[in-house]
């Protein structure tokens, strides 16, 4: 009899344990009730044993080692805050991870988001307008995350893309004193391509990834619709309404003419999607080992190139388009992500600690060096770290002279898979330009 009672007690204990586990996330007061969040600050989760405020941070997925170093440096110098780093499984975006964490009731205090995602979460994010570092933000870097004067994200850094050239190959083929910036038009580019090809070197490499083609190449077309944001938004509005005529659009045709030129001289022209499932290391290798002269890509690839060639000179030329195109002669820049502070589930102290952490990233020596180490370009005028790498330096040369245009970033989050798929079909020769335009129009027409 007694044994049976023990058994039942155990079963009861198990059951209680389960229900206790089941109910604890609800006690954290997720999103539903922001007013009650301040009350939770006695929770062991928010304070460390030695009285520091504990926060979690996700700083983006590209350079986890650099993120780790940065967070360790911050923790070493802070008496009041301890930051715990979150990482991400490969292949999922920050936003997908965030969805899961919000639904589990424990989103990170500080997180890195793309601008489109910031705008979807404004009801959960803290106002960062008053941060000291905002005074130094480069022009045009915060507009995409500002609503009615409230800034919800701190730009992490700047990136740029265009045609990366290898100085070594150009010198070998065109002569030591050839100036890449003399390539202004498609005809100029084709002339150079022909001479390079005659030497048995591939003129250009196209990375066939959907994000590269769908977002980076195609978003140039959205920006090119007008010189100002209102004009671009109007064009996107027409696409959503299904009234835009992409095939008859001059900027679309202009960019696709250039794309055709790249396709004709592509290293992978026999099988353009050869590396579709890989990373960009293979194209970086082509450039670094002199097997290709140009590569349509961005400065983030500097990291890949430098692992193979530390010394060589590389730089950008703008993607050549017609002179009537507002983007002509400029390279495309973007803010790859913004640091944000979560406020719907965190305590007041945690939010304060999060802001302090972000300010430190932007203003401290370690934080400024972090941007450079990740192969990016600072988005702040108070950044004093020296750039020694020629690809990043090339970006700075364009941005400081105003020869850059912003990438259009207000696209839906599945834009790159859908438009990228159409571009891949076009690249592989499966569909023609009209079909591609029709597919992309059909995709946009399903968006609200």
């Amino acid at each position: 009899m007694r044994r049976k009672w023990i058994g039942m007690m155990m079963a009861a204990a198990l059951t209680l344990g389960l229900t206790a586990c089941g109910s604890s996330p609800a006690n954290d007061g997720t999103g539903d009730n922001p007013d009650s969040t301040g009350a939770a600050n006695t929770d062991a989760d928010t304070v460390t044993a030695d009285g520091k405020v504990k926060i979690t941070a996700y700083l983006g997925g590209e350079m986890p080692d650099e993120n780790q170093k940065l967070i360790e440096a911050f923790n070493a110098q802070s008496d009041t805050t301890e930051v715990e780093m979150l990482t991400l499984t490969k292949g999922s975006s920050g936003y997908q991870m965030l969805t899961v964490m919000y639904n589990a009731g424990n989103p990170p205090t500080v997180y890195f988001l793309e601008s489109g995602d910031v705008m979807k979460l404004t009801d959960k994010l803290a106002n960062l307008s008053d941060l000291d570092c905002m005074n130094y933000a480069a022009a045009g870097t915060t507009e995409d995350v500002t609503v009615d004067g409230t800034v919800y994200g701190v730009p992490a850094n700047l990136q740029a893309y265009g045609l990366i050239y290898s100085r070594q190959v150009l010198s070998d083929v065109m002569g030591e004193d050839f100036d890449p910036s003399s390539i202004k038009t498609r005809e100029d580019l084709e002339e150079v391509f022909k001479q390079i090809e005659a030497q048995g070197i591939a003129p250009v490499a196209i990375s066939p990834f959907d994000w590269n083609l769908g977002n980076h190449w195609f978003c140039q077309i959205y920006t090119g619709q007008a010189a100002d944001a209102a004009g671009r938004d109007a064009f996107i509005g027409e696409l959503k309404a299904g009234t835009a005529d992409l095939a008859g659009n001059t900027v679309f045709q202009d960019y696709m003419d250039t794309f055709d030129l790249l396709m004709k001289y592509n290293y992978y022209k026999d099988n353009p999607l050869e590396t579709a499932a890989d990373g960009n290391e293979k194209q970086a290798q082509l450039l670094a080992t002199g097997q290709a002269a140009f590569w349509f890509h961005g400065n983030w690839a500097a990291h890949n190139i430098r692992t193979l060639d530390e010394e060589g000179e590389y730089g950008f030329i703008p993607v050549p388009v017609s002179e009537s195109n507002p983007n002509a002669g400029k390279i495309c820049t973007l803010v790859p992500g913004y640091f944000t502070v979560e406020q719907s589930t965190t305590t007041e102290e945690q939010q304060q600690a999060g802001k302090e952490f972000i300010d430190w990233i932007i203003s401290s020596q370690e934080g400024q060096q972090y941007v450079i180490n990740c192969g990016n370009v600072p988005a702040y005028s108070n950044n004093t770290a020296t750039i020694t790498e020629s690809i990043s330096q090339s970006v700075v040369d364009y941005t400081t002279t105003g020869n850059n245009f912003p990438m259009y970033v207000m696209y839906p989050s599945d834009h790159y898979t859908n438009v990228g798929a159409s571009m891949q079909r076009y690249l592989s020769g499966e569909i023609d330009r009209e079909t591609m335009a029709a597919e992309i129009e059909a995709y946009w027409a399903t968006q609200q």
């Binding site: 079963a11 089941g22 979807k120 050869e274 579709a276 499932a277 890989d278 839906p412």
Partner: protein, 295 residues
């Protein structure tokens, strides 16, 4: 007397709760509640993150039925499942048959065939991606025609690659189940059959296969289930590419819900998938059960 009966009833309930209670509670907490909650969400316009959502009736179902990519990926998954189930089971059975003949060193072979199953799906996908895009491409450069292009670079070969990897992973596991079945075929039945002239293929067809039908039931069921739920290898090997041509249905559903941020539609498609897979599995179990015989 009556009192006694009541006591016994209560005792039975208590005993049931004692043994099955924890399992029932866990099942309810992690499967049943989530499932019902999921069905509820198919009637809403929730995007996966907001605090509020509206009930919008059946419009998610209408959207799901109009979503051409979903139906394409479902059709593709059927093809994939057919290929994987047939090839895996045939290969697994043949290996199992070969490795129960008592050859020298069969223990080593059993272990090697089973090993792929111990590697997790994502790792497996990454390893095979390397094999397809680095190793096979090198073979192609040395003149082996079928590897001239990277298999992951065109829709048909990328699809084949998915099947190859799934078979490679699954066959060892099913082999184990088939082996257990073959070993337990009674010796005297085999001897009698051999005396009656059932040798070779005849022996396999008329003696071994009918007697291991329970193993066939389990193996087919498991391979169907894993083929329809394939996600990890799909993600790490092709990630649906090139141009979404290898997106299996589980990945499509996930992308619809989390990438396109149409959680309601994604959930609806998941429910449709559940109904289809449930129907197939039940039919399959009934059909193969009917084939089972007692020795």
């Amino acid at each position: 007397m009556k009192q006694n009966k009541k006591n016994k009833g209560a005792k039975n309930v208590l005993m049931f709760l004692l043994y099955a209670g924890p399992a029932v509670i866990v099942f309810t907490a992690v499967i049943l509640i989530a499932f019902i909650n999921g069905i509820q969400l198919t009637f809403t316009d929730w995007n996966g993150l907001t605090d509020e959502y509206q009930y919008i009736g059946f419009s998610n179902y209408a959207d799901a039925f109009r979503d051409a990519l979903f139906w394409e990926s479902l059709l593709r998954t059927f093809k994939y499942a057919f290929g994987v189930v047939v090839i895996t089971n045939v290969i697994a059975f043949l290996i199992a048959f070969g490795l129960t003949r008592g050859y020298k060193g069969q223990g080593l072979f059993r272990a090697s065939f089973f090993t792929p199953n111990l590697i997790g799906g994502v790792v497996l996908g990454i390893v095979w991606k390397f094999v397809f895009s680095e190793v096979f491409v090198q073979l192609g450069k040395r003149g082996i025609g079928i590897f001239k292009n990277n298999w992951l670079s065109s829709p048909d070969t990328a699809f084949l690659a998915l099947v190859v990897v799934a078979v490679w992973q699954m066959a060892g596991y099913l082999m184990l189940i088939y082996m257990a079945g073959i070993i337990s075929v009674p010796k005297e039945v085999q001897e009698a059959a051999l005396l009656d002239g059932a040798i070779g293929l005849k022996n396999i067809r008329h003696i071994v296969v009918p007697l291991i039908m329970p193993s066939v039931t389990i193996c087919t069921f498991m391979s169907i289930k894993s083929a329809f739920m394939a996600y990890d290898v799909n993600l790490s090997l092709t990630n649906g590419g090139p141009f979404q041509s290898t997106e299996l249905v589980a990945m499509r559903v996930f992308n619809k819900a989390f990438q396109a941020e149409q959680y309601g539609v994604g959930q609806t498609e998941a429910l449709i998938l559940f109904l289809i897979v449930a129907a197939i599995s039940v039919t399959q179990v009934i059909l193969t059960k009917r084939q089972e015989v007692e020795a």
